[in-house]
Amino acid sequence: MAGRELPFGPELHIRPAVADVRLASEWLARECAGVPGEALGRLELCLNEALANVIAHGGVSAAAQSIALRVRQDIGEAAVSITDAGPAFDATSAALKEPAHSLADATPGGLGLLMMRKFSDALTYHRVDDKNILTITVRWA
């Protein structure tokens, strides 16, 4: 909602590991029980892509600390914030890969960023105390 934001509520800490990503999905579904399925699906997809990026590219510094997840809900919107200790990475402004025009030209990778930008309704990034804080918001009518 314009001009005001509810504080983030429930929090989950997970290891930056493939095996913990489903814990994050299950937690999100529990915390967002009232969110319409279509919006929750988009939020879950963005959360999965953000976590996959931290696991793949966060390096030693991200691997050494847990990832903190926080969720917030307001009328017609829900948001999840992801705090990781990896090197500074701004998913809101990082360059997207040029789309491939044929299967022969297609190279794997880069789709996660595209999905986060397309499926979220707002994406914000802050670097605080050597940590990345990415907030993904979805809205519904």
Partner: protein
Amino acid sequence: MAIEFQDISDTLRTVSISGRMDLVGTDEIATRFAALTASSGRRVVVDLVGVAFLASIGIRAIITNAKALQQRGGRMVIFVGDNQAVYKTLETTGLDSLIPLFTDMAAAQLAVAQ
């Protein structure tokens, strides 16, 4: 995760994937998915109707196998049926411009066999 196949003819095969194609789920089926689509000249319909969640890692696996199949003279199409969420994800990521996408199985089989 489950992955099954059915050979419709000597060259036409359907490969049905169901479950969550996230980091864990895609890894579980990766080897078998690659093996089932790797034959020379094979035409493959990948059935994603039963996929409950499709992350970028799953799309990467589809692209990798479709490319490998094309390099061996084969072809892949995707069948999504009425799975709106998967359809939207494939459309949004532009995969539909790389691999033909069908909501009708008969049309998918006809197209891939040509």
